[in-house]
Symmetry: C5
Subunit: 92 residues, 5 copies
């Protein structure tokens, strides 16, 4: 998984029907996990808000681990980070 | 998922039979999600047109989430983006 | 999927038995899809020749979509490109 | 798999329920396997400590190979490296 | 798949029990397939030796194609390359 900051969200009216009901957040990886040109659109079903630092699961784990196994989803916010060590920046 | 712009399409007559009936669009990631040398060929079954900004699912999610689980497809356009926040450029 | 040019092939006598009977082509991504140091070895069961521009599926899609679900294959040539738009170079 | 050093851990109270009970370690790839801006958050169920050099499995292998097939987990520490050859640095 | 050279191996005593019995080789991609900072640890069940040029399968293909579907393995040596064309260097 990687850690990033929720920096925004996107809206899509015309979309695959298996996506209906999901929120699509824009996550920017922390510097330790990538760069600002490697943002990810991830679904959020734990209620992360803009500015929060989150754990993101990628690949089949996002679908299968979040109860949306048959949806075209390859990234999901799966936790809100409270604190951490070993990172070059400070969380919060 | 990533967000990109539909910049073109490709035609293939001689192809794997599980691909028949699909449209193959060329998607260029927005700057926030990659660079112009990381384009993707994605199937489109929601009717995205050239120039539209779209959500693209990658990996097994593209096959399984789009009803083509047994096709050799690793990328699919799954939504047309209406608007968004947290991106460095403006959508539309 | 990505688009590349078939630039060669490799031969392996001592190999996993699930690979027997496959041809292994060396595919170089077109500039729009990567660089020359990111070549891929892909199986070919549609008869692509050296110099042809092909569509390549990556990951589980290659195995499952090409009838070799139990083989250790992560890339397959799945179409020969006739023509396309939205690419920085000309196909053919 | 890649080899990295355990450099820290993160805590998440509000998280996907399938993640409960897992420890989340921050792993920095050794120079041979990436760079310090490509850290990974991996679960650990073999008891790796800070500073240890570990083997990390990525993708579906992490879920399926570690008995957490239905959790949104895409990386797992699966071994502690005792020693090795062919690496540019010394392990330990 | 990618092609690399076997440059070493690693030993892990404390490891996930599904890994027991496997050999872990360090593979450095040939220049055509990556760079020396993108080494991979791959299992080897075809008996590749140090210095040999090998075909490596990545992702779920490594597990499922090599008879270790329930092990946390994301890379496997699946063939020893005898010769090839279309590569910038000479094999052997």
């Amino acid at each position: 998984m990687i850690i990033g900051k929720v920096v925004g969200s996107v809206v899509s009216t015309r979309k695959n029907e298996n996506l209906i009901g999901n929120k699509f957040m824009v996550v920017e990886p922390l510097n330790d996990f990538g760069n600002s040109a490697e943002k990810i659109v991830a679904i959020d079903n734990i209620g992360a808000g803009i500015g929060e630092i989150v754990l993101v699961a990628l690949g089949s784990a996002a679908r299968i681990g979040c109860g949306v196994a048959s949806a075209p989803i390859d990234a999901a916010i799966v936790g809100i980070i409270d604190n951490g060590t070993g990172l070059s920046g400070v969380i919060k």
